[in-house]
Symmetry: C2
Subunit: 468 residues, 2 copies
C-alpha cells in the first residue's frame, strides 16, 4: 500500500514546510518539496492543500477504565479523590474493553496515535483485564503501551502518617506481582503489532522497594517501558520525607528505577536536585496539566525541567481526573499554564515546542523515539492530518497557533498508525463509534455514584495536610 500526501504543510524540525510525503507500507518513505514526488499507479493520493500534517502525539499517561467515571467524581485532592475512584471502579471485563476503545478513539480524534495506559486491572482477573484492553486497542488499531497498575502496600500507606489509619487487606506480594507481570508480558507484549506491555508500579507511595526494583529489573532485561506516578501531590512529598528521609527521586535512582525507558507521571513536587537527577538518568517527566489543576495538585516545573535537559511529554491522565480525554486541550493548557511561574516571556513555550513535546517527547517517553515522533524517511507512519479549513481553525493565520491556542473541534481529518489509516474524513474506519456510544449510554448499574466526599480517610487527611 502506498499513500502520497501532496503539497501539505508539515512540521519539519521546528518549522512548517510545504512538502509531499510518501508512505509505503508501515513507514514514511520520502519527504520532499511540494510537487516533486510523481504519482505512481495504485497509489492513494491525498490533496494536502489547506491541511496540516503532524507526527502523531502520544498520550503519555492515562487510565483507560476511568472512562466510566467521567463526570462522576467530585473535585477533591488526589488522596480523597482516589477513595471515591476505588468505590466506583468498573467491575466487568467488557467495560475495560470499551474503556480502551473509547480512549483510543478520543486519542486519535485529538491528534494522538499512541497511548500509555497505566491500567487498573481487576484483582484476580488481571490476565483477563489485560486481554480485554488489548482487544480494545487492537480493534481500533492505535499503538498502546499497557502498564498494569500494581502495588503491594495497602491504601492507607499512601497517606502521610498512614499508619494511624485502619489498614485494609494487603494486596498481592511483590513476588506474586512480578510473576504476574512476567506472565502478562509473555502473553501480550507484541511490539510488531503495536501492543506493548510496560511495568507500572503505581508509585513509591504504595510500592515496596522490592516491587519497585523488581519492575526495574524486568524493564532492563526485556527493554520494556517503566511507568509510575511520581510526587503528584504535597502529601506524597511529605510521605517520601517520612518514609525515606531523602527525596523520592533519589530513592528511585538508588533502586535502579530511573533509566531512559522510565517515564514518571506528574512530578509536581520535584525540586531542582530531583530535576538534575531525572535529566541525567535520561528519564521522562509526563506533564498532566488538566488533571493537576482538577485535583489541586499544583504546577509542575516543566520549564525548569526542559532547561535542565529533562525530556517532558504530555498526558491527559484518566477521565476521572480530566473529564475529557482530548490531547489538544492538554497542549493548550500545557502551553499557557506555566506562565504563572515565569515572568520572562522569552522562556515561554512556543506552539512548535509544545507540539514537539507531545510528539517527540511523547515518543521518547514510551521508548519509541527511534520509530515515531517526527516526519522523516524511515520513521513509522504515525501521522495526523488536520483540516485547516474547519470553522474552528479560521481565520487563516498561524496554523500551529490556532491548533494549540484555539479550541479546535473535529479538525482531525485523517490519522495513520504504522501506515494503516484509522481515521478518514474524521470518521473512525476500524470500529463503529455508534456502538461505542450506545454502550456508554447504558452504563451498567454496578458503577455506583458516589455523592459524598466524606470518606473515612477524610478526617485523617484534614488533620495531617490542612491543619494550619
Amino acid at each position: 500500500m502506498q499513500t502520497l500526501i501532496q503539497s501539505v504543510l508539515a512540521l519539519q524540525n521546528d518549522t512548517l514546510e510545504s512538502v509531499d510525503v510518501l508512505l509505503i507500507g508501515s513507514q514514511i518513505h520520502t519527504v520532499a518539496p511540494a510537487g516533486t514526488i510523481p504519482v505512481a499507479p495504485h497509489q492513494q493520493v491525498i490533496d494536502g492543500q489547506a491541511k496540516l500534517l503532524l507526527p502523531g502525539f502520544v498520550n503519555g499517561h492515562t487510565h483507560s477504565s476511568q472512562v466510566w467515571q467521567r463526570g462522576l467524581i467530585p473535585q477533591l485532592p488526589l488522596e480523597l479523590w482516589l477513595a471515591n475512584v476505588f468505590d466506583s471502579t468498573p467491575q466487568q471485563l467488557e467495560q475495560f474493553y470499551w474503556g480502551a476503545v473509547s480512549t483510543a478513539v478520543d486519542t486519535l480524534l485529538s491528534g494522538g496515535t499512541c497511548v500509555m495506559d497505566h491500567a487498573y486491572v481487576l484483582p484476580g482477573q488481571e490476565m483477563e483485564t489485560v486481554d480485554a484492553l488489548v482487544r480494545g486497542y487492537r480493534a481500533v488499531g492505535i499503538r498502546a503501551v499497557i502498564a498494569p497498575l500494581i502495588m503491594d502496600l495497602p491504601f492507607a500507606s499512601g497517606f502521610p502518617k498512614g499508619c494511624l489509619l485502619p489498614q485494609s487487606a494487603s494486596p498481592k506480594s511483590a513476588a506474586e506481582l512480578l510473576a504476574l507481570m512476567e506472565a502478562i508480558i509473555a502473553e501480550f507484549h507484541d511490539p510488531d503489532s503495536g501492543i506493548y506491555i510496560g511495568l507500572g508500579p503505581t508509585g513509591f507511595h504504595r510500592c515496596s522497594d522490592e516491587l519497585l526494583s523488581g519492575c526495574g529489573e524486568i524493564s532492563d532485561r526485556l527493554h520494556l517501558c517503566y511507568h509510575t506516578h511520581l510526587l503528584e501531590t504535597r502529601a506524597q512529598h511529605r510521605l517520601a520525607q517520612e518514609r525515606y528521609g531523602i527525596s523520592a527521586v533519589q530513592h528511585l535512582k538508588d533502586l535502579g528505577c530511573l533509566t531512559p525507558r522510565t517515564s514518571l507521571a506528574h512530578g509536581v513536587w520535584i525540586d531542582d536536585a530531583d530535576i538534575e537527577l531525572l535529566a541525567s538518568s535520561g528519564s521522562t517527566l509526563v506533564h498532566n496539566p488538566v488533571s493537576n489543576l482538577r485535583l489541586g495538585s499544583g504546577l509542575a516545573p516543566i520549564l525548569k525541567c526542559r532547561q535542565a535537559g529533562l525530556n517532558v511529554a504530555l498526558g491527559c491522565d484518566g477521565a476521572a481526573s480530566n473529564d475529557a480525554q482530548n490531547l489538544l486541550e492538554v497542549l493548550k493548557l500545557g502551553i499557557i499554564l506555566h506562565t504563572v511561574t515565569e515572568q520572562d516571556y522569552e522562556s515561554w513555550l512556543t506552539p512548535e515546542q509544545v507540539v514537539q513535546m507531545a510528539a517527540v517527547g511523547g515518543a521518547k517517553a514510551v521508548n519509541l523515539g527511534d520509530r515515531t515522533g517526527t516526519i522523516a524517511p524511515g520513521m513509522d507512519a504515525d501521522l495526523v492530518l488536520y483540516n485547516l479549513d474547519h470553522p474552528s481553525m479560521l481565520p487563516c493565520t498561524n496554523p500551529l497557533q490556532l491548533l494549540v491556542l484555539g479550541r479546535p473541534t473535529e479538525v482531525v481529518e485523517s490519522a495513520w498508525v504504522q501506515g494503516r489509516q484509522l481515521i478518514d474524513q474524521g470518521q473512525v474506519l476500524t470500529v463503529d463509534t455508534a456502538v461505542l456510544h450506545n454502550v456508554l449510554r447504558h452504563r451498567p448499574q454496578t458503577v455506583q455514584k458516589t455523592e459524598s466526599p466524606h470518606h473515612p480517610v477524610e478526617s485523617h487527611y484534614r488533620d495531617v495536610m490542612l491543619k494550619r
Copy 2:
C-alpha cells in the same frame, strides 16, 4: 408564541430538577414539576428528555474585532502583545460586522446569550464602527452590550515609566470622547431590542481622571453599564503606584466610578483592600482565566473575591488573547485554575457555582440581574438547552460536571434570547454561518501578520519589568 419544554433537567437555585418550562412571548411564564403543565394548541412543544436547560451565560468581557487576529499574535505579556494587536487591527467596517456575527455565534454555541463587547472602534469612524457592530449583533439576535474602548492618553502612558518612551500622537480629548459617547448612546442604545451601549474607558492606565469620571457621570445619569480593564498585569499595578501613589481601585472609587453598574475586567493584581472596596461598591469583577494565562498576567484571586461578597462573572476576552471564544472552556478553566492558590478543597468552586457565576454573576455584570440569569417566572427567556446524549457528554453521570469539567463539543441544541429561538438542532437560525465562514476564510490582506515581537517598546519593558 408559546414554547413548552417538557420534563427537562433545569438549574433551579443550586440544584438540577426535572421541570416543565413554559415560555410566552419574551418571558419565562411558568416553571412547574415535570409533567404538570398541559399542552395548549399552537404551542411549540420540546421534549426535554436527556436534555439540560440552563440560563444563558454572559460573556462578560471580549473585544469582538479580535476575531480577525485569532491565531495571529505571539505569546507575549499584555503590554508587548498590545503593540502587536495595534499593528494588525482590522481596518474595514465590514470586518467589524463579521467580528460581531462571529462572536455572537461562538457565544450562543457555547452556552451564552449575552456579550459584553469592549469594542475597538476605528478612529474617525466611531459611529460607523458601532453601527457595524449593532448590525452584526442584530443579525444574529443575541443580547449585546457595546462599550466602545475609549482613551485620552497615548499608548506610552500605559507603561510604568512610560514618559521615557517616544510619545505617539494623543488620541481625542476627554471632552470630545464624552461628547462622542453621548452621540453613540443617543443613536444606538436600544434596550428593548437587546442592544445596549455601555461606557468603556480602556482602563486607568490610558485614561485621564476627567475621562474616567465623565464616563461615570453618564453611566449614573442614564443607568448604563460602566466597563473597564483593571489591574490586569504587574506592570499596571506598578503604574498605578507610580501615577496615584494609592491603589487604582481606591482611585476609581474616589472618582465615583465604582457602582453596581460597573464591571471590571481581570483584576489579577487587586489586593485584599481592593476586594473589600469593590465588594462594598456592588461592582463586578470579570474573570478571564484563559486570557490571563495566555498573556502571563497571573491568577486573579476569585475565591477571595467571592468570599468577600464581590460579584464575579466570566469572560473569554478577545480572540487575540484567547484564540477560542468558547464560554464552556472558560468555565472549565475557571473552576480548576484557582486550586493553585487554595489547598483546602472545601473552598473550591463547585460546577453549580461556576455555572451561576457565568449566568447570575454575568447578568449582574451587565446590569441585567433583574431580567436574566435564572430560570424563573417573569424572567426574560434567555435560555440554552444542551443535548446530554451527545458522545462528549457520555457516560451519563453528573450532567453539570460533564458540561463544566469535560470538553463538550456541539452540545448546544437550542438557545433562546428574549424568547426568540436563535439556535435549533445546533444550527443558527438567523444567519447563514456558511457565509460567515467564507468571509473568515478570505481574510483581507490589510490584516498584517506580525512575525516578530521585537517592537520598539520591548527594550523599555524588559528594562522596567524584567531586570532582576
